[in-house]
Symmetry: C2
Subunit: 331 residues, 2 copies
DNA sequence: ATGAAAGCGCTAACAT
DNA sequence: ATGTTAGCGCTTTCAT
């Protein structure tokens, strides 16, 4: 592997000079610059990143903290973000993390050991000291799909979106509306809160027995949860699932049990993942502006890293209720 | 940032000793080890990766070449591989690449500029010189989901699997079987070849007008292709889709056109993605051993990187026909 | 405009 | 068992 020294020696200059031209700095004789550039080209020399990173104390790498249970929505968002990051010239480090203290601590340790330029949180962390540690590291951070005070975040108005989703159901005449929620994360609580508020607005009594907490926000969890819900009773005409992934499992079980969607039960999801429009029936859901979330997340982080002023600490993006085939008027 | 020196000074030993315990080496007084470990814990010291990388002359980073059209199957495989890579302590660099010369060339250039430990190809490259350039870089490479002579690869017997899939259809009495294939990649050709061979075996004449080439291997492409196929005629009782992603779009359109699956048309897919078991109807398909492919891919690469002998250059993993609800006896 | 030299934080001989 | 020391490849003062 050819190093800066080799180049220097061959051209007959010092390493400093080579370093200067390699980094496009001023104060170097045009002739020598030419020569050096030519030799770099010829030898295929590329600077050793590790060495640069060490002295520069920066890595051109951003960490992405991702939930260990990586559902379809998150996979889609991730691949958009990754695409943007790549276009900015950043590398990516993954940090799969479970929603528990041990996993979070370990994640923090790894986060520290890498000289990251910044980190994107795709999953909320429960341990408060995590955020403090991050800010102590002076590490630019941006939260995507959730908010945390003090760090820039990109997300939608979860509660209001949930209200809209459930309003859609009540507007269709449904009164007995069950919800499948996830047990973790703020967005889960917000989506549940929206559910309750929409019920209030429609004059429907809140009934905790209509809410079931799934283990994760995945299709598999949705399936288990729906089975459990059915074990209680069949006294409902609509289901509001906290994510499309959950809704997928929900509809599957409903069908297995001979319940028609939306004939017998209306189902509304949340996220508008890719397959929502391919499902049978097509899923009514809340669309999160994935493409824009990804691009805003990346841009915000890049600005923070390069020291530019952040537009706003919190960016609330518009969502949209997409009415498809999984919901119908209560008969 | 606390460094190895700080620890050494505080405990009153040399940096070597600290380095030894940090790396779990032998020859360290148990007492001192204790002390050092305690201080590491207390101070939250974590070794600086850049420094390690430099002296170790490795980056602990592997590049993953991924198709720009990143379908569900690939997303699942990727997330498994990524998880394994993480457990080996590798980082990841992405290389999204389109299936065309320009994109491949650019990818190669980037591949060279990074000091990678190895690269995983999740997409076949059409430019032969790409592989040569890679081997000139002495870069360990492994191909996952396809094979290329000279580089270790992990995949199933695509053609035989396709034969099994179509045999299942002919065994059910179907004679008029259409195929939706993708236009690129060897696996597409193999899956098509298997289709034809199964037809041969059943004494069914090959009919190229029964094959339609989708632009990509995604649900959206499946939808477009199925629409186009329907424009020709409805003279078929079964569809074989080259991927589950395609099948998803296919079934969607069939349903829209009032054709029942499997009542009127049987559909078989390929890959067995997560949602195959949630679809309505559940999808009959070929299961690729995703979990094992991911783990073998990672292990093989790791072995190549660490200079251990490779088991075999080519690992052909077992697949399995999973019969679910989207196929039925021809009525 | 350019070179010498001092690190960056760590590992690995080599001595002891 | 442990310390000393020499780099790893690069950037960046600081002289000149």
């Amino acid at each position: 592997m050819v190093s800066i020294k080799d180049i220097a020696k061959q051209v007959g200059v010092s390493v400093s000079t080579v370093s200067r031209v390699a980094n496009g700095k001023k104060y170097v004789n045009p002739k020598k610059r030419e020569q050096i550039l030519a030799l770099i080209e010829e030898t295929g020399y590329v600077p050793n990143q590790a060495a640069r990173n060490m002295v520069l104390r920066r890595s051109f790498t951003v960490g992405i903290v991702i939930p260990y249970t990586f559902n379809m929505f998150q996979r889609q968002l991730f691949s958009i973000i990754e695409r943007h990051l790549e276009s900015f010239g950043y590398h990516t480090l993954f940090f799969f993390v479970k929603f528990d203290g041990a996993s979070e601590k370990e994640c923090l340790a790894r986060l520290k050991s890498e000289k990251l330029d910044g980190v994107i949180l795709l999953q909320e962390i429960r341990d408060q000291s995590f955020y403090e540690a991050l800010s102590r590291l002076q590490l630019p951070v941006v939260a995507s799909t959730f908010s945390f005070s003090g760090i820039p975040s990109i997300h939608i108005d979860e509660e209001q979106a949930a209200i809209d989703a459930v309003n859609h159901l009540t507007g269709l005449g449904h009164r007995k509306i069950n919800m499948i929620c996830g047990s973790d994360f703020t967005f889960g609580r917000q989506r549940m809160e929206g559910y309750y508020k929409a019920l209030d607005a429609a004059g429907i009594e809140r009934d905790t027995s209509r809410v079931l907490f799934a283990r994760y926000y995945t299709a598999e969890s949705g399936m288990y949860s729906m089975r459990e819900l059915l074990l209680r009773n069949r006294d409902f005409s609509a289901i509001y699932a906290a994510t499309d992934d959950l809704a997928l499992g929900v509809i599957r079980i409903l069908k297995d049990e001979g319940l028609r969607v939306p004939g017998d039960v209306s189902v509304v999801g949340f996220d508008d993942i890719e397959i929502a429009d391919y499902m049978i029936p097509r899923l009514t859901t809340i669309r999160q502006p994935l493409e824009e979330m990804g691009s805003q997340t990346t841009q915000t982080l890049h600005r923070a890293i390069t020291g530019n002023p952040l537009y706003t600490a919190e960016q609330i993006l518009p969502y949209k209720l997409i009415i498809r085939e999984s919901t119908a008027r209560k008969n």
